[in-house]
Symmetry: C2
Subunit: 193 residues, 2 copies
């Protein structure tokens, strides 16, 4: 069904057209295989990507955080996340972010998948890490105020999605994927018994 | 569990610090209720938001599109989406985008939810619209090359998520939500029989 033979457009030229502390906007000149030439803009973000952590307090309880988000100017309820620092391993970054934002470290960290937020104009990639065997450990992050930690049952995902402050697509996608993974594992275990 | 009493930080000042054809970066001075003052940057996008369409060819088949995304510089397999134009209703925008990108119109359009992509630094909101009772109708969009339409069974969501070109978080979240909604409706119908 999927045409793997199509030739990807060529990037003919790129140029940084705006730069601030956090953002860099690049113009990109493209040449499509059908002869169409066009200029797009895209946002360049950090090279190392970001991690999103799914902290499992037990097999049915995930720890969410509720913090102020300046993009939407409201408190958002979502999974903890943050940038990967230069030279930092993904799992180490996930553990650090969780200690800073949730106050827990994990005995077991597992890479689940990688998500993009808006591939049409951002290269930004977020790696989803599942954290289990949690233990209390708090590290100081750069948060301007205390972050509220909200335990939530995975069996009550519908109630979470009905909330006005739970809108962030990566968190929602990750919660569904983890719920499905745990259900599959339980089904396998049930079959074995 | 959730503290509704916390006072939201006050936005003391905002300033546009960079502007290109597509993007506007704003600096925001904030005053938190605990006395902390800080300056953040955020990306301002179009006022009218975007729509993401879940085109259901039948109750188990969704129509995906595979198109080049300059942000990640590769072809991405995802649901059709696009900006809402000034004065345009959400459902009309969804139908237009679907006609332009998928070649179908819908007899029935239903608002499902609204998602954010990165509330920490973007206000961008995407409204998810489910499209049913599809009929063939193609409108010319601004796409530089023909978009490939890929029908996919909702029962084969795991195989889709395992693909390297399916990474976009809003599409993944919407597919899970629609699958769950359809399953619930079937369960209700089965109970009624």
């Amino acid at each position: 069904m999927v045409d793997k033979e199509r030739h990807k457009p060529q990037i003919v030229a790129t140029e940084t057209i705006a730069k601030t502390r956090l953002f860099r906007v690049e113009s990109v000149d493209l040449y499509f295989s059908n002869g169409v030439e066009t200029r797009y803009e895209r946002l360049k973000t950090g090279k190392h990507g970001a991690v999103l952590v799914v902290p499992l307090l037990d097999r049915n309880t995930v720890l969410l955080i509720r913090e102020y988000a300046v993009g939407t100017d409201r408190y958002e309820l979502a999974l903890p996340k943050g940038r990967v620092e230069a030279g930092e391993e993904l799992l180490a970054a996930a553990n650090r972010e969780m200690m800073e934002e949730v106050g827990y470290g994990a005995g077991r960290l597992t890479y689940l998948t990688s998500l993009t937020v808006a591939p049409g104009y951002m290269g930004h990639t977020t790696h989803v890490i599942v954290a289990e065997d949690l233990y209390e450990e708090r590290r100081l992050g750069d948060e301007p105020e205390e972050i509220e930690v909200v335990p939530w049952r995975l069996t009550e995902l519908s109630a979470l999605l009905a909330r006005e402050d739970c809108t962030e697509a990566r968190s929602i996608a990750a919660l569904f994927m983890v719920k499905e993974k745990l259900t599959q594992e339980e089904n396998i275990n049930a079959t074995r018994k």
